[in-house]
């Protein structure tokens, strides 16, 4: 283990360091260099991976409930829409902005933005309905320039750039492992056919025959949403690589 001790400066080094400190003090007194950004007149430029407010594309959503299941703060509730399908709503009063929902979405229906500053009049309005999530949340922008932090040598500097930072992030379509449902233990299947009922795409079908129930999975049409996997009471359905 290395012991950290105070450096043993000579008198000459002491004088040199004090002179440097006095120089910095005089410089800051004449032209002060601030490292804080004057929000809202300027905004900090965030990376594309910033975890801000989410926007939602109902056309891509397959109602798999994956976002609602994974949400550690229980902020996502699925709500039945007029077309009979279920779409997420987010309670930003509970959301911890972990973006697990976005990462778990198999179809890329949830998209990130760099928006982090939305004000609400009361708690009830923080519950964002599906319709309100399609467009990015409305914010008033007064910023004329954005700032970037750069580390140059040993110091942190602030670089101001004129122009607006684009708050919407254009993500490439998710590169996902294609998964399909499979039955890992057909003998333990009770034949309750709940999987057939919940499947949106008619992938799982059953037919009642004389001495039992024949179950068929048509893997070609499976989107890998995993809804049947969650509902199977014997947990014999699994998602496997296509």
């Amino acid at each position: 283990m290395r012991k950290v001790v105070a450096p043993d400066y000579t008198v000459f080094e002491h004088v040199k360091r004090h002179a440097e400190a006095v120089k910095t003090a005089i410089r800051e007194a004449i032209i002060p260099e601030s490292v804080t950004c004057s929000y809202p007149k300027e905004r900090r430029k965030m990376p594309a991976s910033f975890r801000g407010y989410l926007i939602f594309d109902p056309d891509r959503c397959i109602s798999c409930f994956g976002c609602a299941f994974i949400c550690p703060a229980n902020a996502i509730r699925m709500k039945e829409a007029e077309d009979g399908r279920y779409y997420p709503t987010i309670d930003y009063g509970k959301c911890i902005f972990c973006h697990f929902c976005l990462d778990s979405c198999p179809e890329g229906a949830l998209k990130p933005t760099k928006i982090h500053d939305v004000a609400y009049r009361d708690l009830d309005r923080m519950l964002t309905l599906t319709e309100e999530m399609i467009e990015p949340p409305e914010i008033i922008r007064e910023d004329k320039r954005y700032v970037e932090y750069v580390i140059d040598g040993r110091d942190l500097h602030l670089r101001r750039v004129d122009g607006e930072d684009e708050l919407l992030v254009d993500l490439p379509p998710p590169s996902k492992v294609e998964r399909i449902v499979s039955c890992i233990d057909p003998e333990s299947c009770t034949g309750c056919r709940i999987c057939e009922e919940v499947c949106e795409h008619g992938v799982i079908r059953s037919s009642v025959e004389e001495d039992g129930v024949r179950m068929v999975i048509d893997s070609e049409r499976c989107t890998g949403c995993g809804l049947c996997v969650k509902e199977c009471s014997m947990r014999v359905l699994r998602l496997v690589r296509r």
Partner: protein, 345 residues
């Protein structure tokens, strides 16, 4: 992978045409008084709709929720009932007293379960505890520190919903599950294992208890209150030499077991299995000296656990006498014949 994946689920014939399978189960088992309330059907029900209503197994909203899959009929040990009786096959008949745990007699149920967990054979055991009013509650036991609850060991003489918890335990387990239960529960587990490989692979240890009868909680408590026994004051219940002994904070109340026959559930009066012949190991009080548990080792897995207990010296072993069990085995078989004769008259 791609294309079609096909499998077939074998389902038995419907006992009642154009009705739900559960209606058939109700007509053949529950309404005829054969039902032992083991709740194997509730364990397998995919919509979790089967429960106990007024001391009877029922599926109240079956018209709306039942999937009519027939699993309840496939696993019911009393549907197509073949009564078991006698001592059954065993590898070893012995008596033992645990040095680590105290129980009704020798604390051997707790000892076997904890040893199996320590060996890594199972990672959870289902135990029945009770609340302060002696209502049964099912516990998932992972290690011996949970035994500080203090109410897990000891006989309760009331029906518990062990099997309702079994599916949850089986789906959560990594190594395997251990179950303790009366002979009817043991038969239910074996039927589940016969029908569904999921249970065959994951239920590794089935401990059966010697059982003459079991009571419904409400009826037993009403009966005990008539005898002047308050459930809050009870410490221990036991049946020895034909007498029911209730030990309370302030003394004991004894009465003849025969008096309990008025509240004997019908499912118990048709049962002839005293020693849980289908278990991996049966444990009880009869057949050994006071303070010892009788241990009847039947299965390979139980044999390994007992060998482990011997090796570690966790229990003191004594002499067991199978002959002492004959009276109760015959008593249970005899009761069955009396009952069936009554039905014919």
């Amino acid at each position: 992978m791609g294309g079609l994946l096909e499998w077939k689920v074998r389902v038995p014939d419907k006992p009642m045409k154009d009705r739900l399978y559960f209606d058939g189960l109700k007509a053949n088992v529950i309404d005829t008084g054969l039902c032992s309330r083991c709740l194997t059907c509730a364990c397998i029900c995919p919509v979790d709709g089967i429960r106990v209503v007024d001391d009877k197994v029922d599926f109240p909203d079956r018209e709306e929720r039942c999937r009519d899959c027939g699993a309840c009929i496939r696993v019911c040990p009393r549907f197509d009932y073949r009564p078991k009786y006698g001592m059954g096959d065993y590898l070893e008949f012995t008596a033992a007293r645990s040095k680590r745990f105290s129980g009704q007699d020798g604390g051997m149920v707790t000892e076997i379960m904890i040893s199996a967990i320590e060996m890594g054979m199972i990672d959870r055991g289902l135990f029945v505890g009770r609340d302060e009013r002696w209502r049964p509650q099912v516990f998932h036991l992972h290690d011996s520190s949970q035994l500080e609850v203090g109410t897990l060991s000891g006989t309760k003489y009331t029906f518990a919903t062990v099997l309702k918890e079994l599916k949850k335990a089986v789906l959560l387990t990594r190594n395997g599950v251990g179950v303790v239960g009366t002979p009817c529960i043991v038969s239910g587990v074996r039927k589940l294992q016969m029908e569904f490989p999921l249970f065959r692979d994951r239920v590794r240890l089935v401990i059966g208890l010697f059982c003459t009868e079991n009571f419904h909680y409400d009826e037993l408590m009403r009966f005990l209150e008539k005898k002047g026994i308050k459930p809050e004051m009870l410490i221990k219940t036991d049946i020895t030499k034909g007498r029911f002994i209730a030990t309370m904070v302030d003394g004991e109340v004894k009465f003849k077991v025969k008096e309990l026959e008025e509240i004997l559930p019908s499912g118990c009066s048709v049962c002839t299995d005293f020693t849980a012949v289908e278990s991996d190991v049966s444990v009880g009080s009869v057949g050994s000296e006071p303070g010892f548990s009788t241990v009847v080792v039947r299965g390979k897995s139980a044999e390994e656990v007992i060998a482990y207990i011997r090796e570690k010296g966790y229990a003191e072993f004594g002499e067991g006498d199978p002959g002492q069990l004959d009276f109760l085995i015959d008593y249970k078989v005899g009761r069955f014949y009396v009952k069936t004769k009554d039905d014919k008259d």
